[in-house]
């Protein structure tokens, strides 16, 4: 097919926007940890831009979007960007260069790996993170991306995931939980040490860049600059705004309307709308945003009552927020929005909820289980965690030889 320059402009800038989410996340996370671990936390996200950026073009794209093998994994036909050129693909995003589609997808892989690191900050060895990221990317991310988007078995099942609720958020959230349990809590956690955020303005800068970039994430996932892109764009903004507002009120109900709270609420709303943005009427962003806020807020409080130090609540926000979003897609989907979609529960098709549930369960189990295995293997080989002294000194100095 012919390249549509408008579509390509939109997809290229969307790719750039999604790229910017990773530094945004670095700041969002970096602001939340203690001063002595801020750089190390930033580094955990930033390294993904390098590492996954390279692995994606070497083999990741091929495993995810290459010729399907039994619904399970992609082939090697795109290895090293072979056959990925300036011509459109015949299957994916047929109005833009194949290279555009490839890099847009690559940005998703990068941020997914970065998201997980929120669970392991302030105590995981940098070398262990690198090794983990390589393996996890290869045997968890790529297969799931293939199942959902690359012509794998979940695509064929008919479960809907517009922009990566399953592939990115549930996946990252469950993996985060597994790693956090394996690692154990930070020294001093629930034991007097002040784990408060080092730099709240960084949290808001980070959240703002995430919100900004998410327009590329969701509206870019329309793969054209059509009405569908606008639909996803508007739905995204509505859900983020609603969830931010709602979290602020919840926060206030219990205490005060905090800046870190409203930022977290916005992110929860962005997560929840991700799988739905191109399948629902934009105004449905309101119930989805409200749901995201309430569910994630209480789940976070619950998690906080346990001994599980899932430090920056990746599971609560992305895992559970993503799960809510996937279910909400099943509830609110409306075929009039997107002819490639189907109707959901409120439009008379309860079966979609079932399919969504099935895909959720699959990802929960696969992500958690595989991450557990990879984590265990790393733990018994090179070790997951820094030494006690290193943890006390802080990871900035002990892992990276630098301080803010």
């Amino acid at each position: 097919m012919q390249i549509n320059n408008g579509d390509n402009a939109w997809l290229l800038i969307s790719s750039a926007l999604v790229m910017l989410m990773t530094p945004g996340l670095a700041l969002f996370y970096g602001g939340m940890v203690r001063r002595k671990n801020m750089l190390s936390t930033i580094m955990m996200s930033f390294m993904a831009l390098g590492l996954i950026g390279v692995l994606w073009v070497l083999y990741g794209y091929s495993l995810s979007f290459g010729k399907d093998f039994g619904g399970v994994i992609g082939g090697l036909n795109f290895i090293g960007l072979k056959n990925v050129g300036q011509e459109p693909s015949t299957i994916y995003a047929t109005t833009v260069p194949h290279l555009t589609f490839m890099i847009f997808q690559g940005m998703f892989a990068i941020i997914t790996v970065a998201l997980i690191t929120g669970a392991v900050v302030e105590r995981m060895k940098f070398s262990a993170i690198l090794v983990f990221s390589i393996i996890w990317f290869t045997i968890v991310y790529c297969p799931i991306a293939h199942w959902v988007w690359g012509g794998g078995w979940l695509t064929n099942l008919g479960a809907l995931d517009f922009a990566g609720g399953n592939v990115v958020h549930i996946n990252a959230g469950m993996s985060a939980l597994a790693l956090a349990i394996l690692l154990g809590p930070r020294k001093g956690y629930k034991n007097g040490a002040n784990m408060g955020p080092a730099n709240v303005p960084f949290i808001i800068i980070g959240a703002s860049l995430l919100w900004f970039g998410w327009f590329g994430f969701n509206a870019g996932s329309a793969l054209t600059s059509s009405g569908l892109a606008s639909n996803a764009f508007v739905a995204t903004n509505i859900s983020a705004a609603t969830a931010a507002l709602c979290w602020m009120l919840l926060n206030w109900f219990y205490y005060r309307p905090t800046v870190s709270g409203i930022a977290t609420g916005a992110v929860a709303g962005l997560v929840a709308i991700t799988p739905a943005a191109g399948f629902i009427k934009p105004i449905m962003g309101i119930p989805i945003g409200i749901g995201a806020s309430i569910i994630c807020f209480y789940i976070m409080r619950l998690r906080n009552k346990t001994r599980i130090d899932e430090s920056l609540d990746v599971w609560a926000i992305h895992g559970i927020g993503g799960t809510w979003g996937a279910l909400a897609t099943g509830i609110f989907a409306n075929i009039s929005v997107n002819s490639a979609g189907v109707n959901g529960l409120i439009n008379g098709n309860p079966i979609l909820v079932g399919k969504q549930l099935l895909s959720i369960i699959v990802i929960w189990i696969y992500s958690f289980g595989m991450t557990w295995i990879i984590g265990k293997l790393i733990d018994i080989t090179i070790g997951l965690r820094v030494s006690e002294t290193e943890e006390i000194i802080g990871l900035d100095i002990s892992q990276h030889g630098e301080s803010i």
Binding site: M195, Y254, T258, G261, R301
Partner: protein, 112 residues
């Protein structure tokens, strides 16, 4: 010679500085500290969990003066730094054994 350490409100710093200036006390060293008095500060909350930051930002002024000037300076700080509300701060006075000006090597009163 005596060293005066005054822990004051950030907003009172400027008026105190000016009041001291007017009487000729120009040299001083200032730093940002966090302080908590008898009122026990304020509890804070973060995202969904709670964490207490009970300390409020204060300015610490350090001033070394001759024994003669001590009372004058104390009076100025007390008068200018007083709002009457809890949190106005404290002044601590302690003896100094020696003062040296690095630039010249001058010692004692000379060096002030």
């Amino acid at each position: 010679m005596q060293k005066i350490e005054a822990i004051i409100r950030e907003d009172n710093f400027n008026p105190i500085k000016i009041a001291l200036e007017e009487k000729g006390f120009i040299s001083m060293t200032v730093s940002d500290v966090m302080g908590r008095g008898k009122q026990k500060g304020i509890a804070l909350k973060w995202r969904a969990a709670e964490h207490r930051i009970e300390f409020l930002p204060k300015k610490k002024i350090e001033l070394v003066v001759e024994d003669n000037d001590l009372q004058t300076v104390l009076d100025i700080i007390c008068k200018t730094g007083k709002t009457g509300n809890i949190g106005d701060g404290k002044i601590f006075v302690m003896p100094i054994a020696e003062v040296i000006r690095i630039r010249t090597g001058d010692k004692g009163t000379e060096a002030l």
